[in-house]
């Protein structure tokens, strides 16, 4: 499936909205998805791996699927079975795939694909045309392609829609990894409030240490917190449009999100189902290349994850709105979405099935 798109790894914990995100990612022309890596989070690792294999099998997608962490770096696993079911799919029947997981662990896959992508990219650019070496300084504009922390522009994008355990493990195991990563797009955190605790969003709560590690890795991290993903909601009427498309992939998408909508509608004020993980995929798609129009806006800021607080553990703390600004922003906070444009993009991808 290697195409002309940008080398990309999707790290996920499927998970119902992860399943929806994978179905969408399959149709993004801007991506060359090199692998799907799975972490424990919404479900136990084994269930998430099963779902990733079965969904890619249903889609006829020959992308490697690799298993990663079965538990957070330094904590016991907390799952979200009440929102996703213990199987991560509400018991929905997905045909059992004969696909096998990649024998390598997730972090090794991330490293090897990062190195491969970096080499591909460097080979494609003549030395005189190579990106100028510069210190990483996030810009307010999505049009600015972020440079790496060491003056390199890595070649691999990672879209992470679960706890960041696999990425943090890869950073620990392969210290040179940051120079090979172009950026990390993460669905996680909440600025106004969390959903697992009042302070913490689920992905940031489950592995707070991993999230803190990744945010301070030097790799540009684009964060989609609950504040924006709650605005990326799908109404029942729009769900009916998906259900009417009538392919096995869109049927699964509509069934998973329909069940999810029944559970989570109140989080978007009763407006619809907040599509957390699909939002990260569509954001990454729209911003894969500089100058592409995007439904989203973002701003550079400092962000850290509280790992020690009593009430605040797992809180994504940002100076975006405070008077005291960090000298060096380390993140891009995705803040707004043009929902109609987002939904049009989403339906356009699903119509390809």
């Amino acid at each position: 499936m290697s195409g002309p798109g940008l080398p990309t790894i999707i790290d996920c914990d499927p998970g119902t909205d992860d399943i929806a995100a994978l179905i969408l990612a399959r149709q993004v022309q801007a991506f060359d998805v090199r692998a799907i890596t799975v972490t424990a989070g919404n479900t136990e690792l084994a269930a998430g791996l099963r779902n990733a294999l079965d969904v890619t099998g249903l889609l006829g997608w020959e992308v490697p699927v690799a298993a990663g962490a079965a538990r957070p770096l330094a904590r016991d696993l907390v799952t979200a079975a009440e929102w996703h079911g213990t199987d991560g799919k509400y018991g929905i029947d997905i045909p059992r795939s004969l696909r096998q997981a990649d024998p390598r662990p997730a972090w090794q896959v991330i490293w090897e694909e990062a190195v491969a992508a970096g080499e591909v990219r460097r080979a494609a650019v003549a030395p005189s045309e190579a990106a100028p070496r510069k210190v990483y300084a996030p810009a307010d504009s999505l049009d600015d392609e972020p440079a790496g922390p060491h003056g390199d522009v890595g070649g691999l994008d990672v879209i992470a829609v679960g706890p960041l355990t696999n990425i943090a493990t890869a950073l620990a195991a392969y210290p040179d990894l940051p120079r090979y990563l172009r950026r990390i797009v993460w669905m996680g955190g909440g600025v106004l409030a969390g959903n697992t605790t009042p302070a913490a969003e689920f992905n940031a709560y489950v592995d707070s240490e991993a999230a803190e590690r990744v945010l301070h890795s030097g790799v540009p991290v684009w964060v989609l917190p609950l504040d924006v993903t709650h605005e990326c909601y799908l109404t029942r009427a729009e769900l009916a449009e998906v259900a009417a498309l009538g392919s096995p992939a869109t049927d699964l998408w509509a069934e998973v999100i329909g069940r999810y909508l029944d559970l989570v509608e109140h989080y978007s004020g009763g407006r619809g189902a907040a599509l957390h993980d699909p939002a990260a995929v569509l954001f990454a798609a729209e911003t894969a290349a500089p100058g592409h129009p995007s439904s989203f806006t973002a701003a550079a800021c400092w962000m850290g994850v509280e790992t020690q607080g009593e009430a605040s553990r797992g809180m994504t703390v940002t100076d975006r709105y405070s008077d005291k600004k960090a000298a060096a922003p380390n993140a891009h906070l995705v803040e707004t979405v043009d929902r109609p444009a987002f939904i049009e993009h989403l339906l356009g991808l699903l119509r390809r099935y």
Binding site: V191, L192, A193, G194, N195, T196, T197, P198, A199, L226, Y267, W302, G304, V305, E306, T307, Q308, G309, E310, A311, S312, R313, M315, V317, T318, D319, R320, Y321, S322, D323, K324, A326
Partner: protein, 328 residues
């Protein structure tokens, strides 16, 4: 529900005790409270914060002298937080804690009682439960709650300026008043008393633009000049940070008692973080109801800004007329 006895319901003025660390916006909060026909200010207690305690007490006495309201008893309170080391904010309010226009020297002294003693005496003698209106660190209020459990029933509620659900100002997570004494804030938020919280979510929207200072100045007379100059001083600090106007934080805690209809509020379970490498002093609101805990605070999240400006202009006009007429 917070408190059925919210001010405005009864005919007689609601008794309040003001507590703060003036500070330009504390001063304006007190101007508003002392002009409100629906409030009866029983006393004022001071705390360190925007400036050290000696300065905030001195400033309080100067403000009351300027207002010709030295009948209101003032008691100096805590010189330091319950547990934490003191923090002061001279960059915001200047060296005196209330830099800007010249103010009269105090015509009176603070009472000999401590802040907790004065509050306890006023609570005991009040004809009905009293609202506390703290606009600085919550040290005095927490000390009162700790020292006098028997007086909790004499407190109608606490309408405070502090915290921020979405954000901080002094650190990314923490607003100044809560950060100065997070342990005291935790005691207040866990007290079970009715709480009205005016945090940064609302006070950052409660901005005075330059034309609003001029509306204050246009009231005419020396008192209006002083208030306009306070606003201008406060504006210059914030303008340098990129604000369009001056966020006039503290009076919003008074607005919650005298004009709640101009606020948008949300009942919420709020916790104060006292630990953490980033989040100490954060007020964490259970916006999405993940705890299932009953709300402990009515949190203001929005304000009708123009109505807010008008309330303060009206208060300045009332004081100016009273001062010009020599009547109280």
């Amino acid at each position: 529900m917070i408190d059925p006895s919210t001010p405005g319901a009864g005919a007689s003025p609601v008794p309040v005790i003001l507590d703060g660390d003036p500070g330009h916006d504390d001063a304006i909060a007190w101007v508003l409270a002392l002009a409100a026909p629906t409030l009866e200010v029983l006393g004022i207690t001071t705390v360190g914060g925007n400036a050290p305690l000696e300065k905030t007490t001195y400033n309080t006495l100067r403000i009351l002298t300027l207002l010709d309201r030295t009948d209101v008893p003032v008691a100096a309170g805590a010189s330091r937080p319950l547990v934490a080391e003191p923090i002061v904010a001279p960059s915001v309010h200047g060296e005196s804690g209330l830099d800007g226009p010249e103010l009269p020297e105090p015509a009176v002294q603070a009472v000999q009682e401590t802040a907790v003693e004065l509050m306890a005496r006023l609570l005991r003698s009040a004809s009905r439960p009293v609202w506390l209106v703290p606009t600085g660190a919550l040290t005095n209020v927490a000390a009162l709650l700790l020292a006098h459990p028997e007086l909790h029933a004499r407190i109608a509620g606490i309408s405070l300026m502090g915290g921020g659900i979405q954000r901080g100002n002094w650190t990314p997570a923490a607003e100044f008043n809560i950060l100065v004494d997070p342990e005291a804030a935790k005691i207040v938020f866990e007290s079970g008393l009715p709480l009205k919280m005016a945090g940064l979510d609302v006070t950052e929207r409660a901005q005075f633009l330059p034309e609003d200072f001029e509306a204050v100045r246009a009231v005419g007379g020396p008192f209006a000049e002083v208030v306009a100059d306070w606003l201008h001083f406060f504006y210059e600090f914030h303008h340098a940070l990129g604000y369009a106007g001056a966020p006039v934080h503290d009076p919003v805690a008074v607005v919650a008692l005298i004009a709640p209809e101009i606020l948008q509020t949300q009942e919420m379970f709020v916790q104060v973080e006292t630990a953490g490498q980033y989040a100490r002093g954060a007020t964490i609101g259970d916006v999405y109801g993940s705890t299932g805990r009953a709300p402990n605070a009515e949190v203001a999240m929005g304000i009708d800004r123009e109505a807010y400006v008008e309330l303060i202009v009206t208060a300045v006009r009332r004081h100016s007329e009273r001062l010009a007429g020599g009547k109280r």
